[in-house]
Subunit: 121 residues, 4 copies
Amino acid sequence: MDWEIDNNKPIYIQLLEQIKLKIVSGEIPIGSKLDSVRALAQEAEVNPNTMQKALSELEREGLVFSKRTSGRFVTDDKERVDNMREDMASIQIKLLKQTLQKLGYDTSEIIELIKHNLEEE
Amino acid sequence: MDWEIDNNKPIYIQLLEQIKLKIVSGEIPIGSKLDSVRALAQEAEVNPNTMQKALSELEREGLVFSKRTSGRFVTDDKERVDNMREDMASIQIKLLKQTLQKLGYDTSEIIELIKHNLEEE
Amino acid sequence: MDWEIDNNKPIYIQLLEQIKLKIVSGEIPIGSKLDSVRALAQEAEVNPNTMQKALSELEREGLVFSKRTSGRFVTDDKERVDNMREDMASIQIKLLKQTLQKLGYDTSEIIELIKHNLEEE
Amino acid sequence: MDWEIDNNKPIYIQLLEQIKLKIVSGEIPIGSKLDSVRALAQEAEVNPNTMQKALSELEREGLVFSKRTSGRFVTDDKERVDNMREDMASIQIKLLKQTLQKLGYDTSEIIELIKHNLEEE
DNA sequence: GTGGTCTAGACCACC
DNA sequence: GTGGTCTAGACCACA
């Protein structure tokens, strides 16, 4: 697992987001066991408390659950994960649309812009 | 000018972004005079210092300049504003692309998704 | 750290300049940790906000970066610091040259003048 | 007379400095009559009050004097002007020396630097 | 009246 | 404890 941490956002949020992305994208399969907090923390070079906070948050969101003694697991609720993936995509796209509209682009221009930007490189 | 402030981001950043959007979208015309710091602060119901900070940032970005005793003005450099508009759009689109890729969508899926989401509503 | 504040310039600019000088001259080593905003402010006998403003500027210039909870550090980019040192010197010299030219001295006179003034004392 | 005004310094200071330079450099000859405040203000595109302030200041410094009804004149005290020219040069050079020393250059390095910078271009 | 600076003091999230 | 943000209120030079 590769981690990218910068100083502009709370670290635990960054951890949270990156784990979340890996779960919904399937890079971390549903039902699989996560490494220990300590191991993850070491890997990401953060304080274990910080990693702990990220995981607790994921638990709150239902993406992850812990079995008392055997560790933490990714939820095995495929539907939930799939929905989340679609929702995240949909939300991002709508936010983009909003922003571009505020910038004064109309719908047809937006489509043009996106095509142009997606194609290049 | 209408202001929307929430608690998820520093206020001065939100002010900054909203003014910026209005400038690049043309809602505030290039070369025009802005209201005084105090007036804007009152309108947005924030402390004058906070508004000042937002405007200073805009000044750093070259979107705005101040004449010490006669007020603050939007730059009259049309090209700069236009470029900034395009850049902002382009950056947003690329960020979306990145996020969707991290979510595991490939380029053709991304295009499908966007079409689907833009058309609805 | 010794501070010299007068009333001819904004305080935060003076703080900024003095810290900058100490960094580029190596008096404050690259990569080292700065005292906390509060400590520095107390030392310089200014309001913490004023010191904060000075440090934020330095951060904008890339000479310093902050880790939100562990403090502020001098950049460890030696090249950047060295370049800045050279640039600052070069700029000062060119400004001097300009001024002396405006005073009506030609290049050879300028060299004479400088020699004369540098040697004495 | 060509004027360069920016927004980073008090305008009257900029006017003052530019007139002063032109007097000590001889561009405006000693004993000569200055244009009227109104004419100068128009030329420099500033408020007459501002130009007035600059000239008053020059008067205080003894570089300029006014004859009740016939206008303002540059002092005809050649020695004073010459001294001022030399002093200004000398002060600038000493300031440069100080700055470079604070940047950590020793005297021989300073000479090298200056040679290098003066020769180029 | 304008932008700009400064202080004092408070609060917050983060680690 | 750290940096960061925000408010309230004051003062200044400039035009």
